[in-house]
Subunit: 183 residues, 2 copies
DNA sequence: CTTACATTTCAGAAATTTCTGAAATTACTG
DNA sequence: CAGTAATTTCAGAAATTTCTGAAATGTAAG
């Protein structure tokens, strides 16, 4: 069956956006379609809805499974595979962030440490920059690990604290607002 | 002149990673090279160091300028353009995050609002999911705006608070640790 | 204004990625 | 265990992206 205009627009948008991410258009479209579908869909349905080949659907679904972004379901009396996205949006976001970190950040951290271990190469500037970059990434991944540990409820609270965050930080660190200029 | 092994490895790594981001290999390499170079480089130097065509360098630099990731400098008595990355790593990160938000998040937020404005389309589930997604993105961008407003010093403090964050949130929101299970 | 250099543009070539249809594989059913 | 349905694999086709060399444009100095 053809998509409703709403589905159509939503799916096409995520197809386009997909390319700005690391994923391709089709994968973006499949995910978008699953995301707004109330029921699990099988590969055949997706293929028809998006007007792509059956094998392309298969590859796209496999990629999404590699990202841990889809759930496989089975309906009684039907041996086809059905796919859904988690109901809980927070779960989706957590997965997305975790996977992007794994693919985009972790390999770089590994490489930087490796370069540092290779010892002094006689270029102080480059070595200092690499060390600085590694330290920053370590700080950020450390913070990320904290956030990941927080249950959703607290995470929401933190994100909606609004302007009170600065004061909180100052109190927590026993320091009063500094007079330094911004940034 | 050829790159030192350290530069070589660093540059190649960021070339590879570039593709996992939205940027292409060459752009990643150019940026990496500028990043670990203590002095500003001109297009000719970059071209030679990376073994690419002069026009490719030009395009890569233009793209990096579009991302606000490089600074243009001029040396007295030399009319070529010289390029650098900011000394302050935090500034680089801020720019990167801001640009990615602009390209990856904002257009989606706009599209979701647009879809909602088009009014009920008779698919309650899809409409609810779109609304939910929009709300989540709004919350996250709101939080991001807070973070962006913080001067670096406070940001570092926040990121290095470690395990004390949960308690802080609870205190700030006047609630004690809940008994709900994680996530 | 002319010359000399520097940079950008752009059409086509090269490389890479994505997509398809056919064949192979897997796995359920009777 | 034979037959059928579902899925995956994969080689080549199609599409897209990236890169190059040549030409065009810009720019500063004499």
């Amino acid at each position: 069956m053809p998509l409703t205009p709403l589905h159509q627009e939503f799916v096409l948008h995520f197809g386009e956006m997909g390319s700005r991410w690391g994923i391709n258009r089709t994968v973006g479209q499949i995910y978008a379609l699953l995301f707004i579908s109330s029921e699990p869909l099988n590969a055949e349905t997706i293929t028809d809805a998006l007007g792509i080949s059956r094998s392309n659907t298969s590859m796209g679904l496999k990629e999404l499974q590699g990202w841990n972004l889809v759930r496989l379901k089975h309906l009684p009396g039907d041996r086809r595979d059905y796919f859904t996205t988690p109901d809980d949006l927070w779960e989706i976001v957590r997965t997305l962030v975790a996977e992007r970190k794994k693919r985009e950040i972790d390999p770089t951290l590994t490489k930087l440490r490796e370069l540092e271990l290779q010892g002094p190469a006689g270029d102080d500037y480059a070595e200092a920059r690499i060390a600085e970059l590694r330290e920053m990434i370590e700080m950020m991944t450390g913070f990320y690990a904290e956030m990941e540990r927080l249950e959703t409820e607290r995470l929401v609270k933190l994100m909606t604290l609004g302007g009170r965050i600065a004061g909180l930080i100052d109190k927590a660190t026993g320091l009063f607002p500094t007079l330094t200029k911004r940034n």
